[in-house]
C-alpha cells in the first residue's frame, strides 16, 4: 500500500468535503442504516448498563432500563481479581511484539527495497507466504518449541509468535512505503560517507514514521486482542493477558453477570480510548495493506 493510497483511505474520515448539492433523501437507506445502528448499539449499551448494576438489581431490573441504583462496585471487584496485573501484561506483550516487529521489519524492508542482490528481493516472497498461513495450524508445533525452549508460561512465549505472525503484513507495508521514497536520498547520504546503520537510523526511520504508526496500530490491535497464543502458551495468573483474563473470569464469576460486564468494559477501554483520540490514524491502520 503506497503512501498515496493510505492518504486516500484516511480521507474516509475527512469531515468537510467540497460543498455540493445535498444528496437526495434516501429513505430505505436511512432506515437500514438506523436499524444496523441499533444492532450495534444495543449489545454495547446492555454491557455498559449491566456493568453498573448490583447483582440483586440485575435480576429485578428490566434488561434495557438504566440501573435503578448505579454502582461501581463491579469495577472494584474486577480490580480485586488482579486486573491491573493482566492490564500490565497485555501492555508488555503488545509493546514487546509490536516493537520487535517494527525493528526487524524495517531493517528487512529497507534491504529488500535497496539491495541489488537477487537473494534479498526473493526473501519478500517468503514473507508473503506467511499471509496464507492460519496461525491455528501452527499452534501445536509452536507449543512444542516453546515448552522445549523453557519459555512456557512466560510473556516472551506470547511475544515471539505474535511478532512472527505480524511480520508478513509489516514487511509488506514497509516495502511498499519505502519504494515510493526517491533513491537519491539514500545515495546522497551514502556519498557523504554514512554507514548503512546510520542511513537506517537517520533517514529510513524518520521517513517511515507514517508507515510505522500504521503498522503499530494495526498489529497493536491484533496483539492486544489475541486470544489463541496466550490460551495455549501461558497458564498462571502471573502471565495472563486481558482477553484470557476475561475468559477465566467467566469461570470464577459464574453468575455474577454485572462483574463480567465490568471486566469486558475495562478490557475494551484502552483500545476505545485510542479510537477516540486517533480515529483517523486508527482507521487508516486497520485498512492498510488490504488494497482497494
Amino acid at each position: 500500500m503506497s503512501a498515496a493510497a493510505l492518504a486516500q483511505i484516511s480521507e474516509i474520515s475527512a469531515r468537510d468535503a467540497p460543498r455540493r448539492r445535498r444528496p437526495r433523501l434516501n429513505i430505505p437507506g436511512g432506515m437500514g442504516a438506523l436499524l444496523w445502528l441499533l444492532v450495534v448499539v444495543v449489545p454495547i449499551y446492555w454491557v455498559v448498563i449491566t456493568s453498573l448494576r448490583t447483582q440483586q438489581n440485575f435480576f429485578t431490573d428490566g434488561a434495557l432500563v438504566p440501573p435503578s441504583d448505579p454502582t461501581l462496585e463491579n469495577y472494584a471487584l474486577v480490580f480485586e481479581k488482579g486486573f491491573a496485573r493482566f492490564f500490565l501484561n497485555s501492555i508488555i506483550v503488545t509493546v514487546g511484539a509490536v516493537g520487535l516487529t517494527i525493528a526487524v521489519g524495517l531493517m528487512a524492508a529497507y534491504t529488500i527495497v535497496r539491495s541489488k542482490r537477487p537473494l534479498a528481493k526473493r526473501s519478500l516472497s517468503v514473507f508473503l507466504l506467511g499471509l496464507a498461513i492460519p496461525a491455528q495450524s501452527a499452534i501445536i508445533p509452536i507449543f512444542y518449541m516453546i515448552t522445549r525452549m523453557r519459555l512456557y508460561d512466560t510473556l516472551l512465549a506470547v511475544i515471539l509468535p505474535s511478532a512472527a505472525f505480524a511480520i508478513p503484513i509489516t514487511v509488506l507495508i514497509f516495502t511498499n512505503y519505502l519504494r515510493d521514497i526517491p533513491g537519491e536520498l539514500f545515495e546522497s547520504m551514502r556519498l557523504d560517507g554514512a554507514t548503512e546503520g546510520q542511513i537506517l537510523h537517520r533517514l529510513v526511520l524518520p521517513l517511515c514514521v507514517p508507515a510505522i504508526s500504521t503498522t503499530a496500530i494495526y498489529n497493536g490491535v491484533n496483539v492486544w486482542n489475541n486470544f489463541l497464543f496466550p490460551l495455549v502458551l501461558t497458564q498462571s495468573p502471573r502471565s495472563r493477558v486481558l482477553p484470557l483474563a476475561l475468559w477465566t473470569f467467566q469461570g470464577e464469576l459464574t453468575i455474577n453477570v454485572p462483574a463480567m460486564m465490568a471486566a469486558i468494559v475495562l478490557s475494551a477501554l484502552p483500545i476505545l480510548t485510542l479510537y477516540v483520540l486517533g480515529r483517523r490514524q486508527l482507521i487508516a491502520g486497520m485498512t492498510a495493506g488490504f488494497g482497494k
Partner: protein, 302 residues
C-alpha cells in the same frame, strides 16, 4: 509504485546496497515461529504425543483415524457453512452500509464512528457479551415481552449456527463496511452526474455504476472474509465451545479440543495440517480466480 533501481545507483558501481544480513532477524523470527511450525505440524501428525512427554513415531495412524472419523467431515462441513454463511450475510450488509456511509453528511460521519466499535472489541469480549446477552435465564432474551424471540438461541442445535454466523457478522461487518466506504468514495462523481442527466433513478445508478465500480473492493473484501472465516476460533470457542454437541465445532476448534483438551496432539496435528492445506488451497484458488495478487492477512481470525 516506482522502480527502486534507478540509474543513479550505477554511479556507486560496486556498492550492492545494504547487507543482506539486515534481513536475517526478521527472517529468522518468521521462519522459526511460522514456517518451521507449518512443517512441524506435518511431522507431529505422524507421532503420538500427549503434550507433556516426548512424541512417539506412529506413522500414518493419526491420518487413518482422522480421515475415517465422521467428526472430521462434520467439522469441515461446518467450517464451509460458516464460511459461505458469513459471506452471504456480511457482503450485502457491508456493501450497502459502506455505500450509504460514503456520502457526505455530519449524521453519517457520527453514525459511521459508532459502526466501527464492535471491531475494537476482542473476540473473547464479543463472545462473552453475546453468551450472556443470549442466556435463556438472565440475558436480554429472557425478557417476557420478546415472546417467541425469547428462547435458548445458543443451546438449540437448530438455531445456534445461524446465531454464530450473525455474531461473527456483528464483529467483522465494520471492517468490510470501511473497505466498501473507501471504495465507494473513489467512484468518479461524473459517472453519477452523467447518469442523472440521462434520468436514471437511484436504484439503477446503484446497479449500473456503483456495483460494477466496486468490483475490486468486492474481491478484496470477499477474499479477506473467506480466508479469514477459516480461522474464526476464539469467538466460537468462548461463545459455544463447539456445542451443543458438535453443532458449532468448526475445524480449528476441533483441532484445539482434540489437542489441548483430549491431549491427542498427534491427531490434532493431522487436523492442523488439513486446516493449513485448506487455507492455502483457498488462498491460491481465490488468487487465481479473482486475480487478487496478494494473499492478504488472516489476522482477522487470530
Amino acid at each position: 509504485m516506482s522502480a527502486s533501481n534507478n540509474s543513479h545507483d550505477a554511479r556507486t558501481g560496486t556498492n550492492a546496497g545494504p547487507s543482506p544480513w539486515f534481513i536475517a532477524p526478521a527472517l529468522v523470527l518468521f521462519v522459526v515461529f511460522a514456517i518451521v511450525p507449518l512443517f512441524g505440524a506435518v511431522i507431529l501428525s505422524l507421532t503420538k504425543w500427549d503434550g507433556l512427554g516426548s512424541p512417539e513415531w506412529t506413522g500414518m495412524t493419526n491420518w487413518r483415524a482422522v480421515l475415517t472419523d465422521p467428526v472430521t467431515w462434520t467439522t469441515i462441513r461446518l467450517s464451509l457453512i460458516v464460511m459461505v454463511g458469513s459471506w452471504v450475510v456480511q457482503t450485502p450488509l457491508s456493501l450497502l452500509l459502506g455505500v450509504w456511509a460514503a456520502r457526505e453528511g455530519r449524521t453519517r460521519a457520527v453514525v459511521t464512528t459508532v459502526y466501527f466499535l464492535p471491531l475494537l472489541l476482542s473476540s473473547a469480549a464479543v463472545g462473552l457479551t453475546f453468551k450472556n446477552l443470549l442466556d435463556p435465564n438472565f440475558g436480554m432474551t429472557a425478557m417476557q415481552w420478546l415472546g417467541p424471540l425469547s428462547r435458548n438461541w445458543l443451546g438449540d442445535r437448530g438455531t445456534v449456527l445461524t446465531v454464530v454466523i450473525f455474531i461473527v457478522a456483528w464483529h467483522f461487518v465494520p471492517l468490510h463496511t470501511l473497505l466498501y466506504q473507501a471504495g465507494a468514495r473513489q467512484v468518479p462523481k461524473s459517472l453519477y452526474e452523467a447518469a442523472s442527466c440521462d434520468g436514471a433513478g437511484g436504484l439503477r445508478m446503484f446497479f449500473q455504476i456503483t456495483l460494477p465500480q466496486l468490483k475490486y473492493t468486492i474481491v478484496t473484501s470477499s477474499t479477506l472474509m473467506l480466508v479469514g472465516s477459516l480461522t474464526y476460533f476464539d469467538l466460537i470457542f468462548v461463545l459455544t465451545a463447539g456445542g451443543p454437541g458438535y453443532a458449532t465445532r468448526i475445524l480449528p476448534l476441533h483441532m484445539y479440543l482434540t489437542g489441548f483438551q483430549a491431549a491427542d496432539m498427534g491427531r490434532a496435528s493431522a487436523i492442523a495440517t488439513l486446516l493449513a492445506t485448506l487455507g492455502l488451497m483457498l488462498s491460491l484458488t481465490l488468487t487465481r480466480v479473482t486475480g487478487f495478487t496478494r494473499m492478504e492477512s488472516q489476522q482477522e481470525g487470530i
